[in-house]
Symmetry: C2
Subunit: 101 residues, 2 copies
DNA sequence: CTCGTTGCTTTCCATGTCGGAAAGTCTGCC
DNA sequence: GGCAGACTTTCCGACATGGAAAGCAACGAG
């Protein structure tokens, strides 16, 4: 077994790599949960585009979408799953390896 | 002016980001020059694919292709230009920012 | 109860990018 | 002149992406 510094086995992940999704994961990795609108604004994409990317992360089992109706307003919050967090960390480790940190 | 730690202004670069090119740049950034065949093998792509990616890096002014006939063998060596090196560093800085190092 | 609005989702579509396969180019050797 | 080596370019078919617009569900207003 090849031990890796951070404890993560570097692994390139095509689902995470594309710019918009790398950003989404980066944002979600820093928090527990973030609202759809906040992510959309931070990433700078349209509703439809964010929705589509989140869907891909969901299908990969990396993200979770929680809908709630709070104060009679629809609130959709996003978060990374445990698996997603690991995949993200592994991908980042791989990027570091590739870019020769 | 927003100063950046490493002295590089983070800047996402779409020419560098795609996996194959990120790898190529990563390899070239670590050396002065590397031979075409060596890069091809490290990156794990075919001649044609490497050739096409290198061409894109060349057109962006990031890579240099030097052909020489040494010992009656064609030797094509690749290297990053100063601009390419800066772009790569800036892109890596941006990746770090996004992935929240 | 019906309508308009908010907040996403899904569909449609026009581009773009990618990689594999195959043909092409260039150079030196036989 | 013909052939091999080392890339290059061309020709696709397969996807991936984003913008625009139509869909939907849940309210609040009238």
């Amino acid at each position: 077994m090849t031990a890796t510094p951070a404890g993560t086995t570097p692994q390139f992940d095509a689902v995470i790599h594309p710019p918009p999704r790398l950003q989404i994961c980066g944002l979600l990795a820093a928090v527990d949960t973030m609202e759809f609108a906040a992510v959309r604004d931070q990433v700078g994409v349209s509703d439809s585009v964010l929705s589509k990317h989140v869907k891909q992360l969901e299908e990969a089992g990396y993200a979770r979408v929680q809908k709630a109706t709070i104060a009679s307003r629809q609130r959709t919050s996003l978060s990374l799953t445990k698996v997603g967090r690991r995949a993200f960390d592994a991908h980042v480790a791989e990027l570091r390896r590739i870019t020769g940190v």
